[in-house]
Assembly symmetry: none
Homo-oligomer: 229 residues x 2
DNA sequence: TTGCGTCTGACACAAAAGCGTCATACTGTT
DNA sequence: AACAGTATGACGCTTTTGTGTCAGACGCAA
């Protein structure tokens, strides 16, 4: 279950093709025909990546991309622009909006999937679906298992995501706010103290294998996942 | 990898290329120039996969694909559509017929083989007819029997297919949606909770032999069939 | 066709697991 | 010591899953 992808295009045919391709590759796909619909979906469940048509009825794809970049919620969601023609000017402008990549129609499903995966690996390591390992701690999103050495340890969904986040973003301090954004999906009205509780639960689960010491408190700032003290 | 593949294309040159590529990869290849011939071969010896040209003299590839999907015998045989141009509309329509993939000419032998293998991997572990075994649990599709140790256990058709799916796709977590696709067929309008019910029935059947613990719930995600907890 | 038994999917309710918040205890800093 | 930030256990609530039941579909036999 690598990731959730929002497709914004007014042509149902394109959406159908994209949906098919993404589904084949095990992505979850949500769809919108215009910017307004898209925004509703974005607020409802924040996607991991957005495929955005350059030309849209109403608010254009370019304008919508700018807006997505301005707003805090979507600031870090990668965007791939879809355009009808390979026009250099368009390309420059598209990248100017903050798009992460750019594809000209027609494109093959294979190419689409390849690019999506590339972007996700680069920008959203959590959504790539790859096995993550830190020392002897191994987390496998595809089986949803976590191994510490050869011990299999069981985590609740939230602790699993939390550990996944930490393991894909090691060595850095993350504020509670950031953790909430990454693990809870950023539009949650949740008390920051709640992070503490889940940190506690995660530590407890890791305790048996000693990996709890990887989950480090940085007083006044947040938490860090790191091998050395 | 076992496999008999039917190529339906009116151009002998294409057929020759495909035949060559498939033979190299150890597939058996049978050929037809039109839908009528194809149908004769299908009835004589059911192929594991069909490569079907989009444009055929007489009954078009699209229509023939629909027919293959309608008929019981061929309902589950994967189809790869071959189209002349990368026309988005064609692609979409091809997928609408129930094709599992499509390729635009010209394609390389390598690409062909890769796609064929991909499809067979995805669909065939269950369709191969091979006996599947996990620990002492043995499922034989040809006799439709399941043995746990030396106990013979009886399952309903759906539970049988469900177990078959699990045994050919162990270790991974499968969302209910995915399970529905694989076990019920990808065009079933079925409540996701129904999966739970059949999981229950399967577990109950496996209970006597203790294999019910292999059927694991991954909360918030789906189910997994796995030896270790 | 009719009748019979099995299989199925939906539903409703029960049970379980997970979640977020809070109050309180604790720890490090100044 | 006083303060601010953090850790932790408990608790009420929500979401998700488990399970029994039932009406209808289906296959089969007469």
């Amino acid at each position: 279950m690598p990731g959730k992808i929002l497709v914004v295009d007014d042509e149902p045919a394109i959406r159908a093709m994209v949906r098919f391709a993404l589904k084949q590759a095990d992505f979850t796909c949500i769809e919108a025909a215009d910017a307004e619909q898209a925004q509703t979906l974005v607020l409802k469940d924040l996607p991991d990546l957005i495929l955005l048509d350059w030309m849209l009825p109403g608010v254009s794809g370019v304008d919508y991309a700018r807006r997505l970049r301005r707003e805090r919620l979507t600031q870090n969601v990668p965007i791939i622009m879809l355009t009808a023609r390979a026009d250099e000017d368009d390309k420059v402008r598209a990248l100017g909006t903050g798009a992460d990549d750019f594809m000209t129609k027609p494109f093959s499903p294979r190419e689409l999937v390849a690019r999506v995966k590339a972007i996700l690996r680069r920008i959203a390591p959590m959504a790539s679906g790859d096995v993550v390992a830190v020392a002897d701690l191994i987390l496998d999103p595809s089986t949803h298992k976590v191994l510490a050495g050869d011990e299999h340890l069981s985590l609740g969904p939230t602790e699993f995501r939390l550990l996944h986040f930490f393991m894909t973003h090691t060595e850095r301090v993350h504020s509670r706010e950031r953790v909430l954004d990454a693990v809870w999906g950023s539009n949650a009205y949740i008390d920051e103290r709640t992070v503490d509780v889940h940190i506690r639960r995660l530590r407890r689960a890791l305790m048996a294998s000693g990996y709890d010491r990887y989950v480090q408190t940085v007083r006044g700032v947040g938490y860090r996942f790191s091998g050395d003290g």
